[in-house]
Point group: C2
Chain length 597, copies 2
């Protein structure tokens, strides 16, 4: 993977250009590479070897504490020691001032080696980043700093048992206790939070929960809808104004661990807040009623992270099945050459169908990786680019976010299934890692917004907002790639195919909305998401192939071009089937009465 | 499911017509229904309640014995007591003389309730059926009879660690010891057999292994290729000519249990034959060198069984997710009606995308069930129909067998993934059964011939043999359905779509073979298999919808028609993408050099 990662970062995305900017001026290609080297090494030495252990020895609750294998703490300690928790922060607070794209690329090694253990760190960094953006100076100094140092870990507490996709229906209640606490306006919270990853463990001396809750109105009632939602810091162990633990425990209790299909190394919790009666202590972050806005500030990075994690699980399976296919002998050639059973069997990588399964994986996982890195690079552009470039990056990101979250979650899961298939019966056993990748990856279509939610976000909001300006910004980029491809005789056909696909998606978008009825337009939002995703990936692949073709001919470059051709030959044609129902606003699903099932 | 099963059997396949045949003359709609009732009850009471237990408490080997949960034995005992092991056998030997289609329909309840435990019985019946076809009178009397009574269970030992898909490369050796043993020519066997389901357990007093092995030639060497393969009965415990256990153990030893992703209730074994030195005792079945032929005699039923099992796992997930979608409230309507957050949330079955996921599942699992039952009905036609009907049934079956094995394995697995998605985070936990269905079902694309193998079988053999007569026989049936649909104004459009799909598949078949080079033709055999499968399922659905339309209008009938329309709107258009590469003999995968990966 490293060669592909370096090519995408250096050649395709030109990350060294970022060092021309003031914020990254002390960096160079060498410092970027050193960060990647360090993370690759820690991931290989501390995370990968315990991937199966952390799957088998699930988090266990003894009524008091949650137990994880000891090796988990050794791995998270090594991550903390690397300084990566503060990778993107200012030098002034001990950070590395790394660009988002390098930070994400470096973290990808952990997702690939052991996605469930990597999650503790990713959640902590996301939590602290949010506090840096929305917390008070004191909150940053006390909570975020301890998280960047890795002394305390963090969580995000959004869902409740009755409110998953529909956050406006949360009922956790927050009542003001004392407005002038040095740590922020102090509230008392009561409620239950579900699906809290890393919600309880002993890996760090404290856990900082960021909790969405509603402050009741003057009538004592919770306001219906998203408007009433505020954000609070709720520490597991109480913290003084000096940032030291007071020795008291806050009223946050583990009600139970969820036992999952995969991703088992991350403890996943139902937490009760305030069940003892007086309420859990929480400190307001940002303004009352702006909790969702604060939380969604970090959502783009979180969603890129999910897509990148899915791509990494896919990559791990691709590498495992490629290695297997090279050493496993089975069967002979098709046709006369294979008729002599006295000849030895040949490595299965020589069979066309095995190569098809490997090429499919390659196109999914390297494509997913490229897409995620591009999105991370757009985050950098948005934050440190020139004004017009930043604006364009923001627009393109808007429309790519539902894709980068969803597409790798679906297709790199399919890659994992193909990896199992390459290994055959062996792939179905727990003696090989591929079955675990498949189980772990199945989560990614569910968390951080389900597939269905992202389809609605894309077709219902992103491609139509402000007269479709985000879609137009993406189309401009795609057309740029098309133009470049049309200059290359061997890629012209693919350029035309991409242009046609873009036109088809545009037409379907228009047709979906032609009646102006959201219910009609959005009845097929998921097939639209799928088609849009394949369009985006075809674009990514053509752009990557163009760049690969600019260097000296090599196996590496030809591999990229072959994966590109695979995607155009086997994958892109699928969009017609998805767009058909979108374009004619097929009402079948929408109109299906319950009684007919 | 029962209503759908009854409709498919009675209305669509007209199974009562079979009672006009001499072999089934003592049967009636009532006796068929009674068998289904009994099996449904045993499956519900004994198999379903232990589905999670048999997943959690995997078979465990203590060095001496393989331990299974006690409830497993209670379940298999109840199955044995039902008499289903001999369901298809003659009355004279204690059988029920049931048609294959009723036997399979009845067994479907066990696959749906607990596929891993049902496997012990299915393997035993398949083993005994093979002996009825190819064994000596004494072998039938001693071995098959004990299996039909359920005193002894059976296995099929084909694969070896180095020979999975490539059976011609097995190296298990069989040397003649005594030609005139009453139980059959007695051989000694040495070798290792891998992936042996039910290879070791204590559920029955003996285990009868049917083992493929090679008899060395006059030079003492094993013959290369499939020609040298013979079939042997190798009992776990030695049996006398009187059919009684002698008290001695045969030299068949468990070398290890495989620890699987799913299907965990079925012990899956690596068995060593003859490791003590003198060889395991085995009795020849059929003629030397005809082992594969004997084994494949039962393969059609086994492959229909795999497809039916996959459909049943899909059905179980469909029912679980449908029930969940009806009771789980989340979110509100799209558009103005859903804007008021003070209104209660609505059941998720009211969301178009949830209905899409349920309709997709319905079309996959009911379609898969219908296909498997049709195939079983064709087996009956082949065995008890008039000569011309039997011939036609055999031809149609030839081409449907790769589809009935593969299509449900792929698409009912997808159904299971959709079931998880409907349940969201809950579906990802082990508190709900859907994640287990998904894990269990992943096996079906691997065993009884992988997807890739069936693609080669379909495009390389079945559709071209004897001038394509099997394909023509299927096409005639499809055209019959098209003609019927064209008579119905509301189905005419679907009839035309099916006719066009058939023409496209025919054209792709011709194009694939137009260069006459097997390597070129078969490079895209798997996409061909996928397209062919979707063509077959579209035909099945249109035929089912036609039949459903003949009764009084009802929710049930409209549900069938909606699932049919779903399949034509959302699924059938996919075949264009698959057929494109087939038609142009896309060489990309075939030509990809190893070094480019």
């Amino acid at each position: 993977m490293r060669q592909t990662l370096d090519f995408l970062l250096n050649d395709w995305l030109g990350v060294q250009d970022l060092t021309l900017r003031a914020r990254f001026a002390e960096h160079s290609g060498e410092t970027f590479a050193a960060v990647l080297d360090t993370c690759e090494k820690i991931a290989r030495e501390k995370f990968a070897p315990i991937a199966r252990l952390t799957d088998t020895e699930e988090p266990r609750f003894d009524g008091e504490r949650v137990h994880l294998p000891a090796a988990t703490k050794a791995a998270t300690d090594a991550y903390v020691a690397s300084g990566m928790l503060a990778a993107a922060q200012d030098y002034a607070i001990g950070g590395m001032q790394l660009p988002c794209v390098i930070e994400m690329a470096a973290n990808a090694f952990f997702s690939k080696a052991n996605v469930a253990i990597g999650a503790y760190a990713m959640l902590t960094a996301g939590n602290a980043n949010l506090l840096m953006a929305h917390g008070t100076a004191k909150q940053r100094e006390v909570f975020a700093a301890a998280e960047f140092e890795g002394r305390w870990f963090g969580t995000m507490c959004l869902s409740e048992p009755q409110a998953g996709s529909s956050l406006s229906d949360i009922t956790t209640r927050a009542e003001l206790e004392f407005a002038y606490d040095p740590l922020g306006s102090r509230f008392r919270l009561w409620g239950n939070k579900m699906w809290i990853s890393a919600g309880e463990h002993e890996l760090s001396e404290n856990i900082i929960h960021l909790v969405l809750a509603k402050i009741p109105g003057p009538d004592g009632k919770l306001v219906a809808g998203a408007r009433g939602i505020s954000l609070f810091i709720v520490p597991k162990r109480m913290v003084g104004a000096d940032g030291q633990l007071t020795g008291e425990r806050n009223d946050v209790r583990l009600a139970g661990l969820n036992h999952k299909l995969g991703f088992r190394g991350t403890s996943n919790c139902l937490l009760n807040f305030g069940e003892a009666g007086e309420g859990a202590v929480g400190y307001l972050v940002g303004q009352p009623g702006e909790g969702l806005k604060c939380m969604f500030h970090m959502m783009n990075e979180a969603r890129i992270g999910v897509g990148l994690g899915a791509a990494m699980l896919g990559y791990a399976g691709y590498e495992a099945s490629l290695a297997y296919a090279r050493q496993r002998s089975q069967g002979r050639a098709i046709g006369p050459a294979g008729k002599d059973a006295a000849q030895p069997q040949r490595p299965i990588i020589e069979h066309a169908d095995v190569k098809r399964m490997l090429l499919a994986q390659k196109s999914y996982v390297e494509g997913g990786l490229a897409l995620a890195l591009l999105c991370a690079r757009l985050v950098d552009e948005q934050h440190s680019g020139a004004a017009d470039a930043a604006k364009e990056a923001k627009l393109v990101l808007e429309v790519l976010i539902p894709i980068v979250k969803s597409w790798p979650s679906e297709w790199c899961l399919e890659a994992n299934s193909l990896a199992i298939q390459v290994l055959g019966g062996y792939g179905y056993t727990r003696d090989f890692p591929v079955e675990q990748y498949w189980r772990d990856n199945r989560l990614n279509m569910i968390h951080e917004g389900t597939h269905g939610i992202h389809g609605l976000d894309l077709l219902g909001r992103k491609v139509v907002m402000n007269g479709g300006e985000a879609l137009l910004a993406l189309a401009a980029r795609i057309n740029f790639t098309v133009e470049a491809a049309l200059q290359q005789p061997e890629l012209a056909e693919l350029g035309n195919a991409l242009a046609a696909a873009l036109a088809n998606v545009g037409r379907a978008t228009k047709n979906a909305w032609s009646s102006g009825e959201p219910e009609e337009a959005l009845a097929n939002a998921t097939p639209y998401l799928q088609a849009f995703g394949h369009l985006v990936l075809a674009w990514i692949w053509l752009d990557v192939a163009l760049k690969a073709g600019q260097g000296a001919p090599s196996d590496f470059a030809q591999g990229k071009q072959a994966a590109c051709r695979y995607f155009f030959a086997y994958e892109l044609p699928k969009i017609e089937a998805w767009l058909g129902v979108v374009s004619r606003r097929e009402p079948l699903c929408k109109d299906m009465p319950d009684a007919w099932f």
